[in-house]
């Protein structure tokens, strides 16, 4: 399509090449590093919360005295600070960490390469996405230093609390920037994938990862605008004293609320979950895509049920818009409505189960190569499975009455997002690292990182499921203040120790990443002997990616085809 781009080698200034770059690969790496930094920040906030949960009322060790007396008098965390940490942990992990990492970082770098394109369809828009995302994230973090502190109404920001609590205005502004950034990215991915595929690359020859990014982009495109509108309404409630979400006759801490009233707090919950449930699939789909790529490559056989996986992803995409109110079974919404969302929730489990089943069946008859990316990809299957299974009693109206707002919910969605998405994203980093830098990450450190992380994650989240069944409530600054949390309180201590271990086991990863970038073992162009297009250009690819527009002759996973000398048959191989 644009072979002239391949020779486009005029010198760019440092600023244009590494900072305000329009090259999808640079932007992809910018997203990668930034979102990993945000993940680390979100993890740090969580460690503070975990300290308070395990040892309520005890001064935070080492850094406690460094906080201002408003946040942590005598080093002991205040309730306001705890709530701010909770809201910001959720917001940062989801909106600034996992989604940008899965969709924007991997999508930017890998999707154009896997479809044989020289760049994204709109490179400048792409740059703008990143440069909206970074200020949005920075603004979100800076809100900790403003008077009143950061938002403290949960990442869900339910009004009226979010309208009367400090910190929320900046949260809303940052969210509006962030949503705009995501929308631009989603449009860009869709146009790129639909219009810029190499000749011969029909839709049913696309790698599963490209499909997953496409479906995730459609979800973002359709689900984010309602939240953006809802966020602006909440902003108006705060700054212009409108009452979109504020009912009349509120009396807050003895003072009558001065707004006109007449609004409806439930409206926000509907608008919020209309985005936030599909968002879960935005977190999970790219992870499934990455795992599919790695499993096909390392079993040396075609994926079992490529079509089933693709259609299931499309099914998940459509159904994800019809399940949002299963977060609201006990919200005071008309109870009859819950039955509808109960049924749709059970329906959406069908395509999800199909994808997992296909991935497991893919192992059958293969020749499994246990390298580091494959270890992470395999761990995804059972651990994400736990995440999916524990969703069942929450999606079922009757059992949700008891489990709603308990630690069971936290355990469930962390199994989905942490041992699901984040594990898969680690797999992706190890798998595509040679593509990015022409070097390989150290295997021994990778294995340490793998076992350390998996054991720690399971150690953090399994106790939460047990606590939830015993009735322990979530979002409590001091769990020991309520009698029903007391017996299982030791499990909070267990979780905290495992969380600390998880932090320690990320050190080999961080060191491995930066060290291997410059000193890692050099790799050939196609070190994993893979079939997909991204391995048909140099590593790292030059500006414009492919010297000549590739031509595609077959599907993405032609491994071990009988009668061929090698066990992989690249999509571009004309023979």
């Amino acid at each position: 399509m644009s072979s002239e781009h391949g020779h486009d080698a005029h010198e760019l200034s440092f600023l244009r090449k590494y900072v305000f770059s329009v090259d999808h690969k640079t932007i992809g790496l910018q997203y990668l590093i930034t979102s990993f930094v945000f993940l680390l920040v979100g993890f740090g906030l969580m460690m503070l919360m975990r300290w308070q949960l395990a040892f309520p009322g005890r001064a935070i060790p080492l850094i406690g005295p460094m906080f201002s007396p408003d946040l942590a008098p005598n080093g002991v965390m205040s309730g306001e600070f705890y709530n701010a940490l909770g809201a910001m942990h959720g917001t940062i992990m989801i909106f600034l960490g996992v989604v940008p990492l899965g969709v924007a970082a991997f999508g930017n770098y890998i999707v154009p390469l896997q479809i044989g394109a020289p760049d994204m369809a709109f490179p400048r828009l792409n740059m703008m996405s990143y440069w909206l995302y970074l200020p949005a994230g920075t603004l979100m973090l800076l809100s900790f230093f403003l008077p009143g502190g950061a938002a403290q109404s949960g990442w869900t920001s339910y009004p009226p609390l979010s309208v009367i609590n400090p910190g929320q205005t900046v949260w809303l502004l940052a969210m509006v920037l962030l949503i705009t950034s995501s929308l631009l990215g989603a449009i860009n991915f869709l146009v790129t994938t639909i219009n810029m595929r190499a000749p011969g690359l029909s839709l049913m020859r696309l790698p599963v990862f490209v499909w997953s990014e496409m479906v995730a982009s459609v979800i973002l495109l359709l689900a984010f605008p309602p939240l953006e509108a809802a966020a602006v309404l909440q902003l108006m409630d705060r700054v212009a004293h409108t009452s979109f979400y504020m009912p009349k006759d509120l009396v807050i801490l003895g003072q009558r609320y001065t707004g006109s009233g007449g609004g409806q707090p439930l409206l926000w919950q509907h608008l919020f979950w209309f985005l936030a449930h599909p968002e879960v699939y935005v977190l999970v789909l790219p992870a499934m895509g990455i795992v599919s790529e790695i499993i096909a490559n390392n079993t040396r056989k075609p994926l079992h049920g490529y079509k089933t996986i693709v259609y299931s992803m499309l099914g998940v995409g459509v159904m994800s818009f019809l399940v949002w109110a299963h977060h609201m079974f006990i919200s005071g919404m008309t109870p009859a409505l819950s039955n509808f969302f109960l049924v749709t929730t059970m329906i959406i489990s069908v395509p999800s189960v199909a994808i997992l089943t296909c991935l497991i069946f893919s192992l059958q008859g293969g020749s499994i190569r246990y390298n580091v990316p494959m270890l992470f990809a395999l761990a995804f299957l059972p651990l994400f499975g736990i995440g999916g299974l524990t969703g069942l009693p929450l999606g079922l109206t009757v059992t949700d009455i008891y489990l709603h707002d308990t630690y069971y919910v936290i355990g469930h969605f962390h199994f989905v997002v942490v041992t699901g998405s984040i594990i898969a994203l680690f797999a992706g980093v190890y798998h595509w690292f040679p593509k990015w830098f022409g070097r390989k990450m150290n295997d021994r450190l990778g294995v340490i990182h793998f076992w350390g992380s998996v054991v720690s994650m399971v150690g953090i989240f399994t106790p939460m499921l047990v606590m939830g069944l015993a009735g322990a409530s979530r979002r409590l600054y001091d769990p020991t203040a309520q009698a029903h949390n007391l017996i299982v309180q030791p499990l909070n201590v267990v979780s905290t120790y495992f969380a600390a271990a998880l932090g320690v086991f990320q050190l080999p990863f961080i060191w491995n990443f930066f060290h291997s970038m410059f000193r890692g073992e050099k790799t050939p162009e196609n070190p994993w002997q893979a079939t997909t297009l991204e391995w048909a250009c140099p590593s790292p690819p030059p500006h414009g990616n492919f010297a000549k527009t590739p031509r595609v002759y077959r599907g993405p996973y032609e491994y071990s085809t009988p009668g061929r000398a090698t066990d992989f048959w690249p999509q571009t191989d004309p023979s």
């Binding site: 339910y158 509120l250 009396v251 299974l389 979002r475």
Partner: protein
Amino acid sequence: MNNYGWGLPIQASTFAGQIDSGLWIIHAAMIGVFVLWGIFFTYLLIKYRRRDGVAVRHEEHGEMTSLIPDLLVMVFEIGLIVFYALPAWRSIKMTMPDPKDALVVEVTAEQFGWNIRYPGPDGKFGRTKPELVHFSNPLGLDRTDPAAADDIVVSNEMHLPVNAKVLIKLRSKDVVHDLFVPEFRLKQDAMPGLETPMWVEPNRIGHYEMACAQLCGFGHSLMRGDVYVESREDFDKWLKSRAALNPAPPTASSEGF
């Protein structure tokens, strides 16, 4: 309170057993699925590890084989919905007892406590006005309304008679709260601007906790109260002692002044 342990808390309402049986069925199925699936997965990982001279088996299974486990999951879920979730949800959340046959209690949540109001001998809740709200009158009860004069308002303490249907009208003065009594398996958001009905029939005498389960601000973890389920006589006695604390109704002479 020895009501809690490492498993589910004790059951103290008529529908607690119904909710627990669902939890048990689902968890048994989940663990069963996970274990079977884990055995199969481990078998695949060992059997198909890379070995020299062992070729990849290339024959394609039909795409359909992966749908068999799906079909089983679907059958289980449909069964769960039709025979468990729909009927149980109907009886617990969609059907409210007739106020004539039930004790009606109003619970109003606020940052950070519970106000429990009993209608008194006349069985009617009196008028409240937001402008009358004061720390000594948390609901803004208008005592000049005859229906309000005998209303009994208690903070953070709910007394209920055993084996009687209770209809709770749940309200909130400020933000979203959630009334959670673990022993009753009862949970419902208190949405400001709405009056949400919920019911419970306590069937075990005892002392339980009413906790707030929805983030409601910096004092959320302190927002709790006590539930006392008592025999009918004890309950009536308590209600009478509480009624005695109400301010005397305005008399003719004081009005004349």
